[in-house]
C-alpha cells in the first residue's frame, strides 16, 4: 500500500507542475493590475509604476515564472501582495474554517444522500422515488445564496436560533458556538451535495438491483434488508466513494457563495478576494495547494477502493 502511495505521489509531480504553470499563465493573462489595487485610486501613475517595479511586475513574464518556480522548489510559496503575510500562513489561517464546514457538511451529506439514493432505487417508479428525485433536483438547482438569505431571515432574524453571520472557532469558543455558527451554512451546502449523491447512489443501485446475484439472494430467502443493505449497496460503494471524494474536493476548494453569505473567513473567500485584487502569488499558491489536496484525496479514494472492493488491484 505504501508503494502505491509513493508511486501516486511521484506521478502527481508533473500534474502539480502543470497546475503551477497554468495557474501562473492564466492569472497573468487576465487584465487588471495589482499595483493599482495596492496603490489605491488616488495614486498617480508614477506611484503605480513604482509599486509595479517594487513587486517585480515590470520584469518579463518568463523571468517572473522562473523565479516563482525556483522559490517553489525551495518550499517557498511566496508572499501575498496585499495581505502582508505568506501564502502558507494566509491559507493556514483560513483552513480550519473551510475544513470545519467541509467536515460538517460531509457528515450531513453522506448518510442522508446515500439513504435517499437507496430509498429511491428500491422504490423505483413509485411516489417515494419521485419525491426523492424531486428533492434532489431542487437541492441541485436552487441557488445557495437564495436559500442562504431565506434561511438567515427565518432562523436568525425571526426565530433567533442561530447567528446570522460569522465564525466561532472550535478551540477558542467551544463546540456549542462553533456548531451554531456552522450549522446553517453546512446544511445549505449539503442540500446540493445530498441531491448529487442521492442521484448517483440511486443510479448505481438501480444497476445492481437488476443483477443476477440479487435475484439469487432473494431466491435463497435472504432478507430484503440484507439483500439491499449488504449485497446491493456494497456493490455500489465504489461509485459512492468516488462521488464522496469529488464532494470533499469541492468542499475543500471553498464554498465561495456560502462563505460570502455567512461571512465565514474561509478559503473560498480568500481566493475570490485574491482574484479580485490580482494577488498573483496568493492565487497561484492556493491553486497549487488545492491541486495537492485533490491528489491526496484521489489517493485516499483509490485506497478505499481496495477496501470496499477486494477485486480492485493496482498491479
Amino acid at each position: 500500500m505504501l508503494r502505491i502511495v509513493v508511486i501516486r505521489l511521484i506521478q502527481a509531480v508533473p500534474v502539480l507542475l502543470l497546475i503551477a504553470v497554468m495557474a501562473f499563465i492564466l492569472m497573468h493573462l487576465i487584465p487588471g493590475d495589482p499595483a493599482v489595487v495596492i496603490a489605491g485610486a488616488d495614486a498617480g501613475p508614477a506611484a503605480v509604476e513604482r509599486i509595479r517595479h517594487e513587486l517585480g511586475l515590470d520584469r518579463p513574464l518568463i523571468e517572473q515564472l522562473a523565479s516563482w518556480l525556483y522559490h517553489l522548489g525551495t518550499g517557498d510559496f511566496g508572499r501575498s501582495l496585499v495581505l502582508n503575510q505568506t501564502v502558507i500562513s494566509a491559507v493556514a489561517e483560513r483552513l480550519p474554517v473551510t475544513l470545519s464546514l467541509a467536515a460538517l457538511s460531509l457528515v450531513i451529506t453522506l448518510p442522508i444522500g446515500v439513504f435517499l439514493g437507496i430509498l429511491a432505487a428500491y422504490f423505483r417508479g413509485s411516489w417515494v422515488d419521485a419525491a426523492v428525485m424531486t428533492l434532489a433536483l431542487v437541492g441541485v438547482s436552487v441557488p445557495a445564496f437564495w436559500i442562504g438569505i431565506l434561511s438567515v431571515i427565518l432562523f436568525s432574524v425571526s426565530l433567533g436560533w442561530f447567528p446570522s453571520a460569522g465564525y466561532a472557532p472550535l478551540l477558542a469558543d467551544g463546540p456549542g458556538p462553533w456548531l451554531a455558527s456552522l450549522i446553517q451554512p453546512a446544511v445549505i451546502l449539503s442540500l446540493f451535495q445530498i441531491g448529487f449523491l442521492a442521484r448517483m447512489t440511486r443510479s448505481g443501485m438501480l444497476d445492481v438491483l437488476d443483477q443476477d446475484f440479487i435475484r439469487t439472494a432473494r431466491a435463497k430467502g435472504v432478507s430484503e434488508w440484507r439483500t439491499v443493505g449488504r449485497h446491493a449497496f456494497r456493490n455500489t460503494l465504489v461509485g459512492v466513494v468516488t462521488v464522496a471524494g469529488i464532494i470533499l474536493s469541492l468542499l475543500i476548494g471553498g464554498s465561495v457563495v456560502i462563505e460570502q453569505v455567512f461571512a465565514l473567513p474561509g478559503i473560498g473567500r480568500l481566493v475570490v478576494q485574491a482574484i479580485m485584487a490580482r494577488d498573483y502569488p496568493l492565487i497561484q499558491g492556493t491553486m497549487l495547494l488545492f491541486g495537492f489536496a485533490f491528489v491526496v484525496i484521489n489517493i485516499c479514494v483509490d485506497l478505499i477502493y481496495l477496501w470496499v472492493d477486494p477485486r480492485v488491484r493496482y498491479d
Binding site: 487588471g32 493599482v36 506611484a47 495581505l83 473567513p265 473567500r269 478576494q273 479580485m276 485584487a277
Partner: protein, 527 residues
C-alpha cells in the same frame, strides 16, 4: 474612487469615500447627540457589521474606506477635517504659513502620548513625514519639499522649493493620512508598520477576513482646546471599552445582523434593503449626504473620443434623472464637482453643461466632428450595479443620438486598472470619487489628468499653476472656476450625481451616534 480590495476587498470593497460639506445638509433621521444633563455610560462594547476587512492599517499607504474608518480611530494627524470638512489643527496646536507660502510652521500639542506610552515630539513628526515620502503612493505631494526641520521638541517646520498656497489643506487629507507615528517606525516598509498611534483607540485583536477589535486607549490625551469632538478632530472622549468590526460582505447578512441583534450598527446598506427597517423603532437609518460623486470618464487618448466635439456630443446626451432612476442607489442630481459648502463652489455656473438631454445638439456636434459611425466602447463592470446601470442607460442615450456604441462589461479590477493606467480599448467608463470633491481642487488634480488620460492641456496646466501659487483665496477660487469649466466643457469627466450612503444603528444600544462620512466611535456610548 471605488476599489475592490474588500470585495476582496477590499473588497470590498468600496473604494475610498469621503464625504461632505458644510452647508449641504447631512440628512439625518432622528439622531440625537448626548443630552446636556445625561452623563454617557462608560464601558460596554459595540458590534459593527462592516462591509470588509482592511487590507492594511498602515495609514501612509491606506486609501480605501474600509481601512480609513479603522485607521482614524488609531492614528492622528497634524491637521484634520472639522465637522464642515474644513481644515483644523489637531496634533498641531497651530499651523502657520509664511507670507511666501514656502515655509510652514506647526506648533505641536504638548503631552500627547503614543499607545506605547511615549510622548509625541517633533522628532516623531519629522520621522513620520520622511517615511511618508518614501512609502506613500501619495508621496508626490511632498515632492517639492526642500526640508523638514525640528528646531525644538514641539515645533516642526516644512520648507518648500516653490509656493504652495494649499499645503496645509493637503495635509488634512483623510486619504493616505499624514499620520504621526513613533520615530522608531521610520524605516518600516509599507504595510509592515507596528500599529502604534496617538488615537483614542488601540488595536486589539485582528483576525483577517473575520473581525477586528479596537479598544479604548486609557492614556489618550484629548485636545482640551476644543469644546467637544469636531469632525475627525476636536476633544474626543471614548466611553465604550471596545468596538468589534465584524466583516460581513453580504448586504443581506449585515441587515440581518442588525435586525437579529448580532450587530449594533451596520454600514453600506442598499436602498432596497432599508425597507426591512420599517416598523422597527429600535433601528435608526442614517442617510449620509454628500458622500461620493459619480461621473463618466471619457478617454481623451484613443478612438473617436480623442475629438472634443465627440466628447461634447456625449455630454449633450446625458439625462441625469433617467440615469439616477436606473441606478437604485441613494443619489441626487448635482452639476458641480465640489459641494455647495465649499469656498470653491461656483453656484449655477456649471449648470448649463449638466443633464442637457439634447440628442439634437449631440447630432450637430457629431456632424461638426466628422463622426462617421466609428465604434465607441463603453466599459463598465459587473461588481457595482450602479456603475453598470449608468453605462447601460448612457449607451441607449448615445444610440439615440446616432452613435455606434458597444458595451464592454469586465470585472472591477480590470475596469479600474484601465481607467487609472489608460490601458484597454475603452472610450467611456464610470466611477465614483469621494474624497476629491470633499477636499477640493488640490485633491481633484491627479484624477483630472489620470482618469481621462489628459495630456498637454495648456489651459488646465495654467489654471492649476495659478491655483497653487495664489495666496489669495479669491484668486484660487477664480483658478478653480477655470479648472472646473475646462474639465466639464472638454467633457473629460461628465457629472452624473451626488451619491449618498446609508447606515443604520440600534438606538436601544447606542447613544451619541451622529452622521459623518466616516463612522466615529468616540463620544458614543453603549446603553
Amino acid at each position: 474612487m471605488k476599489n475592490l480590495r474588500h470585495l476582496f476587498h477590499r473588497a470590498t470593497l468600496r473604494r475610498a469615500a469621503l464625504v461632505g460639506t458644510a452647508l449641504a445638509a447631512l440628512s439625518l433621521t432622528a439622531v440625537a447627540p448626548f443630552s446636556a444633563d445625561a452623563e454617557p455610560r462608560r464601558g460596554g462594547s459595540l458590534t459593527y457589521a462592516y462591509i470588509a476587512g482592511p487590507g492594511t492599517l498602515d495609514p501612509h499607504v491606506a486609501s480605501s474606506m474600509v481601512e480609513l474608518e479603522v485607521i482614524h480611530h488609531l492614528f492622528e494627524t497634524l491637521v484634520t477635517m472639522d465637522d464642515k470638512y474644513n481644515t483644523r489643527p489637531y496634533l498641531a496646536s497651530s499651523a502657520e504659513a509664511s507670507p511666501d507660502a514656502k515655509t510652514f510652521t506647526f506648533k505641536l500639542r504638548k503631552g500627547v502620548k503614543f499607545h506605547n506610552g511615549k510622548e509625541m515630539t517633533s522628532a516623531d513628526v519629522l520621522a513620520s513625514f520622511e517615511r511618508y515620502k518614501k512609502v506613500s503612493p501619495n508621496a508626490s505631494v511632498l515632492a517639492d519639499v526642500e526640508s523638514f526641520e525640528a528646531p525644538d521638541p514641539y515645533t516642526f517646520v516644512v520648507k518648500l522649493k516653490n509656493p504652495n498656497a494649499v499645503f496645509i489643506d493637503v495635509l488634512k487629507s483623510p486619504v493616505y493620512p499624514f499620520a504621526i507615528l513613533p520615530a522608531d517606525q521610520k524605516d518600516k516598509p509599507a504595510r509592515e508598520l507596528d500599529i502604534v498611534g496617538t488615537g483614542p483607540f488601540t488595536l486589539g485583536e485582528w483576525v483577517k477576513d473575520s473581525h477586528l477589535i479596537i479598544k479604548r486607549f486609557d492614556g489618550y490625551v484629548p485636545d482640551d482646546s476644543a469644546k467637544g469632538p469636531d469632525g475627525l478632530g476636536g476633544k474626543k472622549t471614548v466611553y465604550v471599552d471596545q468596538v468589534r468590526y465584524n466583516f460581513v460582505p453580504e448586504a443581506n447578512a449585515r441587515v440581518a445582523a442588525l435586525q437579529s441583534g448580532g450587530a449594533d450598527i451596520a454600514n453600506d446598506i442598499p436602498a432596497a434593503l432599508a425597507k426591512r427597517f420599517e416598523g422597527r423603532t429600535d433601528l435608526t437609518p442614517l442617510r449620509i449626504f454628500p458622500y461620493c460623486m459619480q461621473v463618466y470618464i471619457v478617454n481623451t487618448q484613443q478612438g473617436p473620443t480623442r475629438n472634443p466635439l465627440v466628447r461634447q456630443a456625449i455630454l449633450a446626451t446625458v439625462d441625469a434623472p433617467e440615469i439616477i432612476g436606473a441606478m437604485n442607489v441613494v443619489a441626487q442630481p448635482s452639476h458641480s464637482l465640489v459641494y455647495p459648502g465649499s469656498p470653491y463652489y461656483q453656484g449655477d455656473a456649471m449648470k448649463p453643461y449638466y443633464s442637457q438631454k439634447n440628442p439634437q445638439k449631440a447630432k450637430e456636434l457629431l456632424k461638426q466632428a466628422g463622426y462617421n459611425g466609428e465604434k465607441i466602447v463603453l466599459q463598465t463592470n459587473s461588481n457595482y450595479q450602479n456603475m453598470k446601470d449608468a453605462i447601460l442607460v448612457l449607451s441607449e442615450l448615445m444610440k439615440e443620438a446616432g452613435m455606434n456604441v458597444s458595451v464592454d462589461v469586465v470585472d472591477w479590477t480590470t475596469n479600474a486598472s484601465n481607467m487609472q493606467r489608460g490601458t484597454g480599448t475603452w472610450n467611456v467608463s464610470t466611477t465614483s470619487f469621494c474624497s476629491n470633491p470633499l477636499l477640493g481642487p488640490q485633491q481633484w488634480r491627479v484624477m483630472f489628468y489620470t482618469f481621462p488620460q489628459v495630456k498637454d492641456d495648456a489651459v488646465l496646466d495654467a489654471a492649476y499653476a495659478q491655483f497653487y501659487t495664489s495666496l489669495d483665496l479669491g484668486k484660487r477660487v477664480a483658478a478653480w472656476a477655470d479648472i472646473e469649466k475646462r474639465v466639464i466643457e472638454q467633457a473629460y469627466m461628465i457629472k452624473i450625481a451626488d451619491i449618498g450612503a446609508l447606515r443604520a444603528f440600534n438606538n436601544k444600544k447606542i447613544e451619541g451616534m451622529t452622521p459623518y462620512y466616516l463612522v466615529r466611535f468616540w463620544d458614543v456610548s453603549a446603553k
